[in-house]
Amino acid sequence: MGALAQHAGIAQNALRRLFSSPISGFLNIIVIGIALCLPSGMYVLMQNAQGLLAEVSASPQISLFLTMDANAEDIATLRKQLAQNPAIGKAVFVPRADALKNLAQSNGLADVIAGLESNPLPDAFVVSPRATRAQALDLLRNQLQKIPHVDLAQLDSAWIYKLEAMLDFARILTFILAGLLSLALVAITFNTIRLQIMTQKDEIQVAKLIGATNSFVRRPFLYLGAMQGMLGGITAWLIIVLCLHFLKQPVSTLSRLYGSNFALQPLSAADSLTLMLFSLYLGLMGAWLSVARHLSEIEPR
């Protein structure tokens, strides 16, 4: 209990020190918060993009447009061939007449279509592959393209490939950003603690003269660094939560317009905790480095 009370006392003291000059104290925390919210915000966006990707790529389709000269017999062979292909989950035949009817209904082109002399649309298969990875889909598409009487095999989700590549890029960018800004956080804490050690020079000297151990002298500064880091982490968390809150409505409107029920996912509890603990740890590390560097310079005379 005594030890606990002592630690609480040190923590309270650290908090007071942190805001002994309120403006610079707050500024430090805000700077740390912004630095941290960039990579963690990107992380949240990527999580969401990944969710979106999983949703759309769960049902990729390849449209197989047949040549105009394909007859019923050719279609029957093709149907059998598709059914036997292990890479294909389902293949639905869309006769050219149905395709025209669908087109007339869905797009209000009824007048235009009614004016046509003959049906310009080919027969088609809509193939649902088992694979969802872009590479496997591409392979399958190339394979299908080579089948006789197939005019065009079209992967209607080529953009997934691009999105995936973009996500890979964003992931690396996030890592780099996280690394650099973590370094910045450590540097900011290092400097805060350096200044604090300088202003408490007398106190440190006197404490050493009357028997303070190094860990006793060190402890308040480590608390200070850890606390500044954690407050920065909380700030970053607040910024992200606020941004997500404002983005939620527009995103769901947008996805509804695209016929999806995708909704922006908030930062999970585990991720929130990780963010705060990580920032606390970085603060602690900055303080530790600073203390190791500067405290030994203060020897009592």
Partner: protein, 226 residues
């Protein structure tokens, strides 16, 4: 308790502040350290608390060779030594009470015990009414007494005082001497440096001159002679 054996101290500038100093101070003994300004009194006291290290010779405190102590062991040596600094070394960013409680915080005393001991120490030096004041608001003499309170609050077995009565009038000097005496009574070992010849009656005195022990008088003999 404290034993100097052929101790020399040369400061970085090359100045030899102590030369071949040897003496012994038994446990529970009280002695004065006198000498002109610059004689090496403060230096000698600093060597005991390992604030400075000797260039040669050995300083033993409690049979421990202080000059060979590792840095990590210094705090535990110093907790056993109450030190009254010539330049006070008070902290002006906190109250009188907080200044005195620092040694107790360092040793990890709990709140209630700390408050009790701080008040007792402040009472001894006549500053009980000023515990909330900032040390900067105290007179020179009061600051000196505050230093004494901080040095004794931990009830150390060794008390080193560097000119503790420099700013005090005769009456307070008597008061301070009484405090030291009472500490002496309960078995503490005391070494007090002073300019004040009036304090010296009947007590062992070590006189330094230019870093060397010039004369050493056992208190009892001088006491008998006078």
């Amino acid at each position: 308790m404290i034993s100097f054996n052929q101790v020399s101290k040369r400061y970085p500038g090359g100045f030899e502040a102590l030369k071949n100093v040897s003496f012994d101070l038994a446990k529970g003994e009280m002695a004065f350290l006198t000498g002109h300004s610059g004689a090496g009194k403060s230096t000698l006291l600093k060597l005991i608390a390992a604030i400075e290290r000797p260039n040669s010779g050995s300083v033993l405190v409690n049979n421990q060779n202080v000059s060979a102590l590792k840095n990590a062991a210094l705090p535990f040596l110093r907790r056993n030594i109450g030190m009254i600094f010539q330049d006070h070394k008070l902290l002006f960013d906190r109250s009188v009470f907080d200044n005195v409680q620092l040694p107790l915080q360092i040793c990890g005393f709990d709140h209630r015990e700390t408050a009790k001991r701080v008040r007792a120490a402040l009472d001894k030096v006549g500053l009980l009414g000023r515990e909330k004041a900032n040390p900067i608001a105290l007179s020179g003499g009061e600051q000196q007494r505050l230093c004494i309170a901080r040095a004794i609050v931990n009830r150390p077995s060794i008390l080193l005082a560097d000119e503790p009565t420099g700013n005090l009038d005769a009456e307070y000097t008597q008061e301070i001497m009484k405090i030291f005496d009472s500490f002496h009574q309960v078995g503490a070992t005391l070494l007090i440096s002073t300019h004040d010849a009036g304090m010296l009656k009947g007590v062992r005195t070590i006189n330094l001159r230019h870093g060397e022990i010039a004369t050493e008088s056992s208190g009892k003999i001088t006491g008998a002679a006078s």
